[in-house]
């Protein structure tokens, strides 16, 4: 509670930033600042990583532009954290190379990579005060005493912890600890920020607030940021681009809305959105997309006997026409109703309805028509079929 208040009092986080951090390295628009901009591009070139027999990253290629906020998104165990740790130098690659700016850093020590990392657990040093925690990277870098003081003051002010410098992490709330971790990262003015699910230990309200704060902070500092999360809401709201990963492979990289509206494959389609996109077996005949005989949409694709049709829950209508399926669950969420159906063509089809409409009953057979975008994926590979 008090935590939230503090955050608010401390100002409009972003406003403080604009005022107090004029000398941000990348915010500078003079020549030298700009030059550095191009140096903090991040690249994974054909990185493979395995732990014993377990291949966790396969031919991983990713390029993060300077100043970009890129979110690595995927279910747990997809390799996103491993990719981040490889970039941090905490994990070796099995093959391939990693580049920061125009420098290959594949076998550099973490300390030589000019990066800062925010850990999921925050990893604050419990025996040091907040101030000592934030100082730590600067002292290691041999920064002069006066400069340490001013930079730490500034960092603490930025995250709104100026008054708590003498506390130990054990005396802080979860939200405050999270901000100490942020301060420790920004104080270094590194080329790249790495964040490993930094919000997962906060409660829902605080998470929402901090989400906006971190995004604003990143925009102000303009520092290239790689952010790992399994939470698609974080990904959609924070990232300039999202890289979706699954089973050690990169599935798609793009702006949040691109991913949502033009998923590159069936996995991305079903993973993004809440609920995820429905996947229904169907066919294409003479420009007509059919499910169980009935035409649901049109396409300019050539004929295929087997295709996976992707359609969002809000684009399905229950009516007299369309393909038949059986209602198995009806969930009333208040503002809307989710009707879950089953048919020979799909184990699970979710239809989103507004509460007002008449709702079907469980066991009833209904007919579904598509009223919106239809996505077609190859039934075998799951790849998007382009017309």
């Amino acid at each position: 509670m008090s935590d939230l208040l503090l955050f608010r009092n401390n100002a409009d986080f972003t406003k403080t930033l604009n005022f107090k951090m004029p000398a941000s390295r990348y915010g500078d628009t003079d020549g030298s600042g700009l030059e550095r901009c191009f140096m903090s591009k991040v690249e994974f070139r054909n990185v493979n990583k395995s732990f014993g027999d377990n291949q966790v990253l396969t031919n991983f290629e990713l390029s993060v532009d300077d100043g970009e906020f890129l979110v690595l998104l995927g279910p747990s165990g997809c390799g996103k954290t491993t990719a981040l740790r490889i970039l941090a130098g905490l994990e070796d690659v099995s093959s391939g190379s990693v580049h920061i700016g125009d420098r290959e850093v594949t076998s550099e020590e973490p300390k030589d990579r000019d990066i800062a990392m925010v850990f999921q657990s925050y990893a604050l040093y419990p025996h040091m005060t907040v101030r000592k925690n934030v100082e730590f990277p600067l002292r290691n870098a041999g920064v002069s005493k006066d400069e340490i003081k001013s930079r730490v003051d500034q960092a603490l002010q930025t995250v709104g912890l100026s008054d708590l410098g003498d506390r130990k992490p054990g005396q802080l709330s979860g939200g405050q600890r999270q901000r100490v971790a942020l301060a420790r990262a920004i104080v270094r003015r590194p080329k790249v920020f790495l964040m490993d699910e930094p919000l997962s230990n906060l409660d829902a309200t605080l998470r929402q607030q901090t989400r906006a704060d971190i995004a604003a902070l990143q925009r102000t500092l303009g520092t290239t940021t790689l952010y790992v999360t399994h939470d698609q809401v974080e990904a959609m709201t924070m990232g300039t681009r999202i890289a979706v990963m699954y089973q050690g492979k990169l599935q798609q990289v793009g702006a949040p809305t691109d991913l949502y509206h033009r998923p590159a494959n069936a996995f991305v389609a079903s993973f993004l959105g809440n609920p995820g996109m429905n996947l229904i077996r169907g066919s294409v005949q003479g420009g007509a997309v059919r499910v169980a005989g009935s035409v649901v949409s049109t396409t300019n694709l050539a004929d295929r006997s087997d295709v996976t049709i992707g359609v969002r829950a809000e684009d399905l209508r229950i009516g007299d026409a369309g393909f038949a399926c059986e209602v198995v669950i009806v969930e009333d969420l208040g503002s809307e109703v989710h009707v879950v159906c089953q048919s020979a063509e799909s184990d699970r089809i979710v239809i989103r309805q507004l509460s007002a409409t008449t709702r079907p009953t469980v066991g009833q057979t209904v007919h579904l028509a598509i009223d919106g975008a239809t996505h077609l994926f190859d039934a075998m590979t799951g790849e998007r079929c382009e017309g």
Partner: protein, 276 residues
Amino acid sequence: MASKQRRLAGRTGSYALLTLLAFIVGFPLYIIFAGSLMSLKEITSVPPSLFPMHPIWSTFRDAFVGGNLGQYLAVSFFQSGIIVVGQVLTSILAAFAFAYIQFPWKRTIFVAMLATSMIPFEVTVTANLQTVAALGWSETMQGLVVPFLATGFGIFLLRQAFLQIPKEMHEAAVIDGYSSWKFMWRVAVPLARPSIAALAVFSFLGAWNQYLWPLLETGSNKNIQTIQMGIRGVGGQVSTANVSLAAAAIAVAPLLILLVFFQKHLVRSLTAGAVK
């Protein structure tokens, strides 16, 4: 590239340090086995052999025949076995009572039992010798083992293990009508097996290596002297260094086997109370 070399150098340095430390710590143990196969000449020459070029196995025969090690070994296995079984049993019973049963004087008895670990056995040796004598157990096997059949540490360790069993297990058992006795043997003890194994390994190590009590209690009765007494008999004389080392090798071998196969259990018992 330069950083790759640096990493390689760092790794090489790590191995160099580890190997140096392993040499310092492991050399005496190595020499027990290597030396037991060397001739006296190999041991006394300057520099001495580091590896038995012509292994002599007769040292072990001398240790067994001349040093009568076979009997000492048998006594030690018997004495340690009884102590392990006794400590495990008494600890299970008491620890279970403290973890799961409400009974009068529980708190007082528990504190009294934990407090025993603050009284080192060495402090009670003098009076215990008299007690054992009064019981007519001087220079007997009973006198050797009975004083060690209970352990405050074991009770502590097993009580912790019992308390870690989810409460639901216990509630389910009570609903199913298990008596406390049945619950102990059918549920609690099987679930606490790792800690019981840890206690058993720890007890064995302690019992096998006992020195002061066997020395004073067994007196002149050679029939109940343990392997440590056996080494004491042949030990320390350089004139028969290889035979002494062979005896030491025999005495330490069972424990090394224990270390290799039950390292996890041993570590668990040795660090109980050390971390968290």
